[in-house]
Amino acid sequence: MKILTYKLFLFLKLIGREFKAQKLRMSLTVLAITWGTISITLLMAFSVGLETQMNKSNRGLGDGIVIVCGGQTTMPYQGLPQGRRIMFRTESGVIDLIKSRVSGIDMVAGEFLRWGQTVEYDRKQLNKLICGTYPEYETMRAHYAKEGGRFINQKDIELKRRVVYVGTAVARELFGEDVNPVGEIIRISGVPFTVIGVMIEKLQDSNYHGSDEDYLVIPASTYLLMYGDPFFDNIVYKVKDGVDSKIVEKDLFRVLGAKYRFDSSDDNALWTWDTVEGAKIFKKVFLGIKIFMWFIGGMTLFIAGIGVANIMYVAVRERTREIGTKMALGARGGQIILQFMTEAMAISLVGGLLGIIISLAVTALFRMLPMEGSLELLSDPTVNWPVALITVGTLSFIGFAAGFFPARKAASINPVEALRYE
């Protein structure tokens, strides 16, 4: 055991000596592996981050929801002419009808909208959109409140409370940055309301009546009391998981067609926006982007691999005479191969480790940088560990192989041939 440890010590001593002698080449190889690892890891990290961010902003409007509003018929139906406007009367029980008769629906709620209402606080006065709706909106439309606040609830509806949930941008305009306005009283169309919550910051890439951060939400019952709107502006529903939204939509046309008397095949009778369908398309597009990224990543790995192989190969060939000298002095072939392998391993480990550390640092930096607008899509790069490890592994393996075979050859031929090598 002692002898073995001692031999190991001698072996490491030799390697250390040669490391010093080959500083430039070693650093270049380390650099090649580091660079390869960084490029691929970062490429994939941003690809993953982009997907997360795009998914998030895609869900900003709501996850898997369909928005419906009344349209105009284009087909005569049961003696009724075409061109009739379809509108959802508030008192008609349309929501309950959809809930009970259309299959595959998870949640449904109506929504009232009124633009340009005065909103006052302190001495500030703004004109904003007021939305009256139901508690289901919280999950359907991702109307979550920041800590310490809440969205409207069933009790608010029942008691027709004068409470308001404020969009992020509205809150900024009214109360300023970094102020928690929960409990403050504001006036909407002259009527005092208590702020119960402010929307969380969220990414939103699509909308149908302005960005969610830019309006105020009050209970539907309170809204009706104030404005007396006879019609829902929109109805929003969410289909159950695993249910095809197209089939649900057909069912909706059938049920509402019977109620409002239009042909269930008349596409213009209702205007619908199926975000589930949109998400599907988005997924396909992103799959394309991902395949492209993997392709680029693969190519980069390939090029980096060639670089590493080249350096290792040249290094061993360059040292063929040296190998011959050592063999002539009584080194064993195994010792020499082991030495090159240890070198290659140390280089790949250091290079790979450096590459991963730098990638982690860069991704961390990007996550810290304040990025707005479309740049926000780049703000959440995530290192994909399998990709990073596979990259390091592949490059190490290539370096290994490119060093191993020439080293083994040089160590297995007669020393005189290795010595003769120029």
């Binding site: 002698a21 063999m327 002539a328 002095l329 009584g330 064993r332 005189v416």
Partner: protein, 237 residues
Amino acid sequence: MNNGTLISLSGITKYYNTGKIKVRALRGIFLDIKRGEFVGIIGPSGSGKSTLMNIIGCLDSPTSGTYVLDDQPVAEMGIHQLASVRNKKIGFIFQNFNLLSYATSYENVELPLIFSGIPGPTRKERVRRNLSLVGLADRADHKPTELSGGEMQRVAIARAMANDPEVILADEPTGNLDSKSGRDIIAIFEDLNKTGKSVVMITHDMNIAARCHRLIHIRDGLIESDTKNHNRQSAYV
């Protein structure tokens, strides 16, 4: 141990295939070298001297024939045993020194000792002793580029002597040196020979050949003559 024969070659041939032409470098060498001999090998270039030397040094293997080194047939040795023979029994000296350019004199001499796993203090002492033996104790920390040709060859000798081998094999050790440095090298060989080491040396220089005890002429891959050198000159004349 037999009657002092260290190296015994019988029927050694070596053929190279360089493309279409078959080069017969050695065509049947019979040669015995005893312990303590000082042998000079001479002959024109291309005669096969270096090939013979490489085979004696176990750096190359013959196409046919038997080589018995210290009562052991070399052909029967495994690669580990061969490495050990090169390490311990043979000290090989090259015309172009073959020192590791990045290593100091000390480290170059230390190399064979590391390969044989000699422990630290002994190793240190042996490296120092061998460097003093060739008069380079003060050059221990110099790299080959900082040494003259003669000094480099002396480091190479110290390295060849590191494991106290039976025989010194030198392939034109003075070929790249001026005559003064060459004489110094030969003087070292003579000293080593006096302590009982066998020395086998290839040379072109007739003045140097004149100092060997036995001269072997090689021509066209065969031994042309093998003579005792009775009227040899001494290094100290």
